[in-house]
Symmetry: C2
Amino acid sequence: MQLARRILNLLKTDSGAWEPYYRARELKEAGEAVVNLTVGDHDIPTDPAILAEMSESASRGRTGYSVVSGTTALRKAVATRIEKRTGVPTGIENVVITCGGQGALLVSHLAILNPGDKALFFDPYYPTYPGTIMAAGGTPVPVATSPRRDFRPEGKALDQAAVGATSLLFNSPNNPTGTIYPQETIAMIAAAAQKHDLWVISDEVYDTQIWSGEHASIRALDGMQERTFVIGSMSKSFAMTGSRVGWLAGPAEIMNALGELLTVVTFGVPEYIQDAALYALNRDLEFEPKVAEPFRRRLSVALDVLRNQRVVSLVPPMGAMYLMLDVRATGLSGRDFALHLLEHERIAVMPGESFGRSAAGHVRVAMTVPAEDLGDALRRLASVAGELARNRSATAAPAAA
Amino acid sequence: MQLARRILNLLKTDSGAWEPYYRARELKEAGEAVVNLTVGDHDIPTDPAILAEMSESASRGRTGYSVVSGTTALRKAVATRIEKRTGVPTGIENVVITCGGQGALLVSHLAILNPGDKALFFDPYYPTYPGTIMAAGGTPVPVATSPRRDFRPEGKALDQAAVGATSLLFNSPNNPTGTIYPQETIAMIAAAAQKHDLWVISDEVYDTQIWSGEHASIRALDGMQERTFVIGSMSKSFAMTGSRVGWLAGPAEIMNALGELLTVVTFGVPEYIQDAALYALNRDLEFEPKVAEPFRRRLSVALDVLRNQRVVSLVPPMGAMYLMLDVRATGLSGRDFALHLLEHERIAVMPGESFGRSAAGHVRVAMTVPAEDLGDALRRLASVAGELARNRSATAAPAAA
């Protein structure tokens, strides 16, 4: 029996880059203590008040089918939030509720890609991007960025890749690099989208975790509303990753059509979860800082640790919950360094290669443990890196002599 | 800006057959009392004990990302259930957890259809079938059945349609007709699938609602395990429609690949919902009859009412929660009869045409109100039909004379 090409291609993309992640899980299951800095899942659970609201809604009988595009109240709250944060007039006709940010990534691409269409995204990238595009029948095309430019997109590379492309997906504040695209980068992307008639999918799920600089939403730029989808989510901002509730905002005349897609993809999001999300959004100033502040403290500790060594260098982390560390001085790939660190120190990080070629020789650290533990783990990481670098130059020196 | 062909095709399929459903909602929102017999949503909420388990799991901190293919415990419980009900050896390697039955419909078709591939299903059909196939890039091909044969598939029609097709999706016990395919029909389908090398997707979400006859799972037939996906769900059997939790069972070597698809479609089902589903499945003998029995009583009342008139005839309802009524004696289409009934009696039913051409001149009644209310609604429905039929013959007679 023959599987579809899309799934065979999806399987082929597995480059072994996730090996340290799976190895860490094996070690944990075998009872070993591992400091897990791999995936972007909070170390705190969802706030009890949000869960109480969910439970109360379910008990009130909100357990039947929801309207597929989302409850009117939640769509309204999301629209208001977007309008408040970006200044762009936004109504419920611009918003549908999705199965988390990932559900929004999928339906937006399903709505715009015909088979084989070129769909762009910047490398390094969130690991589901190419698979999402393949599932929607498109051809994923990574556009390289460089650590020399803090992984910010460059106009020339984008302009070349955009010829004949259908869409461009990007993520700022960025996972995995922690960079935030400055206003001029966003303007460059908007200009390229208009020049090449691209759809833009702007993944803004980290827009509440900003440590320096400012987040600009591309939908607010002139002429962009008609071609832009914005993805948001309760996952990162409200520590609701497991609840799978997010949204897609875009042109009103298209959101109605998206309802037809949502019908066949998920048939709606549980109404009691939407009620909990509404409760949380209505108290954003209470919940969001509680979720974001620990990461700010951890980042400060991390920067202190990394300032005291010279082997590992760091892409300036402006937002989100990750550190992208350059470990090329060790002579190892990100994957080999991550495996080495796991075997010798029982610290699990993600190889940069999991996020594309542009992040080769890097590792991504999720700041998902308390500040002291993070500081300790980074000290040990830097020490391992230093040792590897010294051994390397010791080996290299005689050879050069 | 241009949308993808799949979504334009999806929008084109809207034939207006859902008009009575939307009209009923308008009337309700305007404050009118409408007896709603349209969609298959329970009139009882999810059992409080199941909700308490969900709430308890969330409070225990099960609010982070779940393993994308489902928790080991729930996959194991589903595998055990399938093995117990069908006799087919089934392990967790054969099962993934999905966003309800609809999520399983989508990922199974995404896994097997290349662009343009012919995907078969029997008409009348559950209304998301063609859209699901289109979203997966396939070409939906309905295979007609006839009310003269109680909407059971016939070998000749299937054999003709199957030439060059990739897959066949079917649903027994059937929504919308209430028929259950007998063993010889299942065997005929299996033979056609093997002859034409088709994937089979067997939607068995009503397998706990059997009023007469016996349900046979096609996966249990010789040579079918390697080419069959079975879809199950907590929705109908445990009155958990809104919670969006179901499963797909199939060949082990493919389920692993499906994990890659689930990653990009939903990124998993909330763990606290999976825990609630596990709790319910472990007490299936307690919950399932509680959910199914009201429908059995309602069916009995409905049959009594319909026995006392001769205008509306009924496809024998062997399972599921629907009645498929033949109203052709009124001279109206299903849609026009449904609109007439709604305007004059404030009773909302679905036109047969919503479910395909084969159910033209029928209406589907969801038995989702208490038995007495259902009996009363059917008496009024029969009376309206009788009046229409009498007027028709009164008008027709002079013309014929």
